[in-house]
Symmetry: C2
Subunit: 412 residues, 2 copies
């Protein structure tokens, strides 16, 4: 008999929080759930929680890392521009009919690190292209959606390479449960309180109507223009179907849309970025008129430059987000190699697609109107961390007034 | 460390036979693969074999029995007429674009036996309705497809309830490997020889052009009229995309389309039928002018009658198949509770949908033309076993001549 290293009570609570607080799944609503097959215990708990919350139908789509690897290791070179478009168009159909969407992450973040980066990039681009119609319904918040995490064994082994498997998984599970605020007696109340704090921050930022943010820290001197009629969001968010959901479990950030043509200066990453199974570390990038004009990295520079070359929008920003250095995930001192966690440990920016949600009355805007206001568009959306203990941020208003926003990594 | 009760070499061979002989997967062809999540080792082996055979993309769709049970145990009563139509329409799109289809069976055949039969039947009907457009591309052989089996633990436990889990699984694995002809040094050669034998039988039957078959055995006196321009098939079959595949691994049957209006007499089942998780045993049914006018069973009579009431075609025959009593699966003496195996142990008939393939030039016929010739149409296709050691069959030609086909369970 083996004891699971994952506390079953906390796992049930994570399922409950993901369904109730994360999705806010409505009675009669269908649920499309993607997950790595190793996350089956969480998939089952979420399925039970979803039906208990009144789900009409729960359909898990499970992926397997060995199946993924078999492709890279065995398939013919001419096949790497293919993606299962039929599956993504099926998902888009489900969203059109009102289904909610949940994704469980938990794969080995370095799964593809030994594979040919050109093939990895071709598959990434084919997948993004095929998935775009479905993803747009998520990024424009047509439906309620959420992402949560499963403490996968291989993921845990990357984070804690010196620990035995069970201990590593137990440590990652604890970190996930704690960051997801389910290690308290009343997780739903904890989330309500947390959402109120984030709401206070976004309300203040929205009142300021800054036209730009100025980031300063060692190696960084970056002015990020904000899009016209930008709106700050964080925590709970109302989807176009009227459902208030928490799209990320956990979340610590408040974020908005930068102006794709008004970003200037140089910025250094403060944490490594795990992208499609490879690590990019020590990024230094220079922007001019919103576009990256120079990009290097101590590690993974080629992958960074391939990423930036994906399309026109991949060289511009689609998100800027503020997270204090005292955030619990930052204080854990852990590097998760996973954006869902690492982006909540530091201020960050994202290359690529913006969220139309982050505009005043964003749901009613056309793609052209969003572009006119400075919203970026791209096949990619890749977050990377630029904040730390020494980060200072000023808000700059239209008339040039400077307002302290962050000092030494904390809200000013 | 645990040794798997399943021989890895034979598992690799089963994967190879399923891809090469079962599907005859073509270089550049996509593969859609459905399987229970417990079959992951076979899914992975098939994925590797498929990419080695030149597959452009392999997409497994995995289902989990606990997720299925959670629905029956927790979902609201109003939700049981729903099916993931978006997923099935995605699959139909994949088939339209030329994907091949493989299904791995291996679930607990009694999974739903404790659930409310009305809910089970509603889900079955909703699924059949939603799946119909995709299934038609399979049943009309637009594409190459195949079904093979994984020795699932819970399935093995049903078959060998007195054995420890590992032993039961090992025994089921042996039975599957042997029936699938992969326990020989050259499985592909064994399949070629087996296909030649089945081809000789179908050639002889097609030359006879019988207008009916007359079955006699204890409790059975049944005349099964054959459809106009019916054609016998068995073993390898050419799909409309030109690919010769073996749709069932294993297979022992030769089969054709009965005339939906010309079936008369009484017939008893010779083996229990496992349908949607319930067992129907001791079936006795009387046909008049092709339609069931009386149906009873020693066990599961209600389920049988619900099944027959699915739609008009569910009370008529869509298949008649001949299997000698000496077939290896019959000689194993095992009851698998799974049609893929049990239908290959005995002569059988199927209620419901016919195969358009089983007509001369069937691919060019419209649904109306098939119906005119006597082909049946229905949401269901359920095989049940009527043959045994004492089965005699006569072929009856248009002028009334009788030709012995089976005597005492064997080819005459
Ligand atoms: Zn972010
Ligand atoms: Zn982001
Ligand atoms: Zn059959
Ligand atoms: Zn059949």
């Amino acid at each position: 008999m083996t004891d699971s290293p994952i506390d079953p009570t906390l796992l049930e609570r994570l399922a409950e929080v993901s369904v109730r607080t994360g999705l806010n799944l409505q009675p009669g609503q269908e649920l499309v759930l993607t997950a790595p097959v190793t996350a089956l215990p969480l998939v089952r708990a979420i399925t039970r929680a979803a039906y208990a919350a009144g789900a009409s139908l729960v359909t898990p789509l499970l992926t397997d890392s060995e199946v993924t690897l078999a492709r890279f290791e065995t398939a013919g070179d001419e096949t790497f521009d293919l993606a299962p478009g039929w599956l993504y168009s099926g998902m888009a159909e489900a969203f059109d009919r009102g289904a909610a969407r949940m994704a469980i992450v938990g794969e080995d973040p370095m799964l593809l690190s030994e594979q040919d980066p050109a093939k990895v990039s071709r598959v990434g681009k084919a997948t993004s292209t095929a998935y775009k119609p479905a993803l747009e319904k998520i990024s424009t918040f047509e439906i309620n959606w959420t992402i949560c995490a499963w403490p996968g064994e291989s993921w845990a082994a990357r984070m804690f390479p010196d620990l035995p498997t069970g201990d590593a998984q137990a440590k990652l599970a604890d970190a996930i449960f704690s960051a997801s605020r389910v290690n308290t007696d009343d997780p739903v109340a904890a989330w309500d309180e947390h959402n109120a704090t984030l709401r206070a921050r976004t309300r203040w930022l929205n009142e300021q109507r800054f036209s730009a943010l100025h980031f300063r820290s060692p190696g960084t001197d970056l002015t990020v223009g904000l899009a016209d009629d930008h709106e700050w969001h964080g925590g709970a968010s109302e989807a176009q179907n009227g459902v208030v959901c928490n799209p990320n479990i956990p979340t610590e950030e408040v974020f908005t849309t930068p102006h794709a043509q008004r970003v200037d200066g140089t910025v250094c990453s403060t944490k490594p970025l795990s992208h499609q199974g490879s690590l990019i570390d020590g990024i230094e990038v220079t922007f001019k008129d919103g576009r990256i004009v120079e990009a290097k990295a101590d590690k993974g520079g080629d992958i960074l430059r391939e990423l930036i070359a994906t399309d026109e929008g991949a060289a511009r920003l689609g998100e800027v987000a503020l997270v204090p250095h005292s955030s619990p995930i930052s204080q854990s001192g852990l590097l998760f190699y996973n954006t869902l966690f690492d982006e909540n440990a530091a201020c960050h920016i994202a290359l690529g697609q913006c969220y139309s949600k982050c505009f005043l009355d964003g749901a009613s805007l056309t793609a052209e109107q969003i572009a006119e206001k400075g919203g970026n568009s791209s096949l990619i959306h890749v977050d990377w961390m630029i904040g730390g203990a020494e980060t200072d941020i000023d808000g700059i208003t239209a008339d040039g007034t400077r307002v302290p926003v962050f000092r030494a990594g904390e809200w000013a």
